[in-house]
């Protein structure tokens, strides 16, 4: 009796939280289908529904070239994702499995560096990129997003640490090289953490605004969606483009949603079961 009452309270709290969470998303989706223009309406459900916002988003590219921005973002995210994943997993594996001088110190330095927010280095990064003549380019963005990724090795390293060392040793005696052990033994066993790394390193550049805005400046051509969508909210555009902005926001969330749906089945527990006694 007491338990079910407790459960009821928990469910009520969860429901309220759920509604609070879902409401803004619903609202954006509603707005994206709204027929009447204007930024703010005193009502939740639109008076008329239309697909025109979505069509215009891609069709009209004189003022805002959304399809270009979208492909920019996709390129940057995919490349950063591949590079970052490679960096993170390599560094994690190295820190977890290889023993070399300065290993502990390097891990500590990484920890301390990780405490500073990335945008502290923003201005310096901007000038460095300018020095190389690659500011305002997609390459610059890819470099910025992926090159620091190796510092975020802690989670994956923690996971690798849980894989028994005797597996590596068995593979070593079986004739596998370090690289082979990583590819054929460690990685297949680390699917959850590899997927986690992929998802996070795809999402970070996909949704980043600060670095993109500093590096791209006024280069409209090379804008990412975050920058582009935000520029729709400037004073002179906001009234006529607000619903289109909402449509853009919905589009932007689609790749991430797809990524999650595709990868969530890999988050399987107990993947190491049966390898060693336990």
């Amino acid at each position: 009796m007491r338990k079910s009452r407790g459960n009821a309270i928990v469910y009520i709290i969860l429901s309220v939280l759920g509604i609070i969470w879902v409401l803004p998303i619903l609202w954006v989706i509603m707005t994206s289908f709204r027929q009447e223009a204007g930024s703010f309406t005193p009502y939740f459900f639109p008076k008329g529904f239309t697909f025109q916002n979505y069509i215009n988003l891609f069709a009209e590219n004189t003022t805002f070239n959304f399809s270009r921005w979208f492909s920019n973002t996709l390129i940057v995210s995919v490349f950063s994702c591949v590079l970052s994943t490679f960096y993170v997993l390599s560094v994690s594996y190295t820190m977890s499995r290889l023993r070399f001088r300065m290993r502990k110190k390097m891990m500590n330095i990484a920890l301390v560096l990780g405490m500073f927010p990335g945008f502290m280095s923003m201005i310096a990064v901007y000038y460095v990129l300018k020095l190389f003549g690659i500011s305002q380019s997609l390459l610059a963005l890819i470099l910025v997003y992926s090159s620091g990724a190796g510092l975020g090795f802690y989670v994956a390293k923690g996971f690798f640490d849980t894989i028994p060392k005797s597996l590596d040793e068995a593979a070593m005696l079986d004739g596998a090289s370090k690289g082979m052990i990583f590819r054929r033994i460690t990685l297949p066993m680390s699917k959850p953490i590899a997927i986690y790394t992929v998802v996070t390193s795809f999402m970070a550049p996909w949704v980043d605004y600060i670095f993109a805005s500093v590096i791209m400046g006024d280069s409209y051509e090379n804008y990412t969606v975050a920058l582009g969508l935000f520029s729709m909210l400037e004073k002179e555009f906001i009234h006529s483009y607000y619903t289109r902005f909402a449509a853009g926001a919905v589009i932007v969330s689609i790749p991430i949603a797809i990524l999650f749906v595709l990868t969530q089945r890999f988050y399987v527990q107990g993947i190491t079961g049966g390898s060693v006694k336990g």
Partner: protein
């Protein structure tokens, strides 16, 4: 097929801690060698040095005639069975066994043939398509054995392979491993802390303690002629009785004085060991429980507890400060606290130096 030669092999960790001191021994081809000792004695470290998983700090290691100090583990042509099986969890048993062969670029049909053969001999044919998770402990250890066998290595290394199994399975696997050794006719080096495993499986046993070799000998010799008190105590269950005593003269013979009792030492032993030179010295008398009998007269002892093992009975007793055990086949209902008399079969007595523990 190859023998192994260890020449003054040493393992020093972090320039401070020496795990293995001057390990020198020659392991013959096709020999079954057991490294045994309490935990932390350096037995596993020695095995891992042979495998190449640990660097050798000093000394030389030969497999066959080849110096392998700086040869990578994969090029040493050895296979190892780990205590925790170390099967690759994401691969089927078949893939597990094939992995090492694939790495060595063995042709596919050859791999298949070898795996089928090994699986048949280990009776795991029906498990080949399963993953390790779906196997019981015993089956996993068989699979791990199979993975080693298909490689056809010169030397097999076992790092406490049976410690994770229950008692019944352990006995079963013991005979299994022994059978495999007879079939394969390869050199086996086997690490264990279980002296029963050591006694039943090994051709020769290396007893280690604190990184030093104590004795290398056949099981029977270790039991009958231990070089020191440690080996005497480590080999044999229940443990050898160690009784503090003093060598003294009584009439024309020598005696071991235990408390107020004088136990005559047979002439043969006292002459062989020239005990007359240490008259008056305190020594440790070692005598196996099966040579310690409950009798009508003899040394008075107080029963602490008696353990009934079915076919035999262990009676724990106190003589003065020393705890001794008698192993008898007759069931004796000794109540704790009861006073009994014990007699030693002094023909089987051993004497050890009181301080160093070295056999006299």
């Amino acid at each position: 097929m190859a023998g192994i030669r260890l020449q003054n092999v040493k393992k020093i960790y972090d320039k401070k801690f020496t795990a293995v001191h001057d390990f020198t021994m020659e392991i013959k081809d096709e020999e079954f060698i057991i490294l045994v000792g309490p935990s932390g004695c350096g037995k596993s470290t020695t095995l891992r040095m042979i495998a190449g998983l640990e660097d050798i700090s000093a000394g030389e290691l030969y497999i066959g005639d080849k110096l392998v100090n700086n040869v990578a583990p994969k090029d040493r042509d050895i296979a190892m069975v780990f205590q925790n099986y170390a099967l690759y969890p994401h691969m089927t048993i078949y893939k597990n066994m094939a992995f090492g062969l694939e790495m060595r670029k063995v042709p596919k049909h050859e791999i298949d043939r070898k795996i089928k053969e090994a699986a048949k001999s280990l009776d795991i044919e029906q498990l080949l398509s399963r993953k390790p998770k779906a196997l019981s402990g015993g089956q996993r250890q068989r699979a791990a054995l199979g993975r080693a066998i298909v490689r056809d290595p010169q030397v097999f290394l076992f790092d406490e392979p049976l410690s994770n199994l229950d008692a019944k399975l352990r006995t079963q696997m013991r005979t299994e491993i022994k059978r495999i050794h007879n079939e394969l006719k390869t050199t086996f080096v086997y690490v264990t802390h279980d002296q029963t495993e050591a006694m039943t499986m090994g051709d020769r046993i290396v007893v280690m303690k604190d990184g030093y070799i104590q004795q290398i000998d056949t099981p029977q010799n270790l039991y009958n002629n231990p070089v020191n008190l440690f080996v005497a105590g480590f080999i044999g269950t229940p443990q050898i009785n160690a009784i503090n005593c003093k060598i003294d003269k009584c009439k024309d013979k020598l005696c071991a004085i235990v408390g107020k009792y004088a136990i005559e030492i047979p002439k043969k032993i006292s002459e062989e060991k020239s005990l007359d030179k240490i008259i008056g010295k305190n020594v440790v008398l070692g005598i196996r429980p099966e040579y310690t009998k409950i009798a009508k007269d003899g040394i008075k002892a107080k029963v602490v507890i008696s353990e009934l093992m079915g076919s035999e009975c262990y009676i724990h007793m106190d003589i003065g400060k020393d705890r001794i055990i008698s192993r008898t086949s007759t069931v004796l209902d000794a109540v704790s606290g009861e006073a009994v008399y014990v007699k030693f079969d002094m023909e089987k007595a051993m004497f050890f130096d009181e301080k160093t523990g070295i056999r006299i």
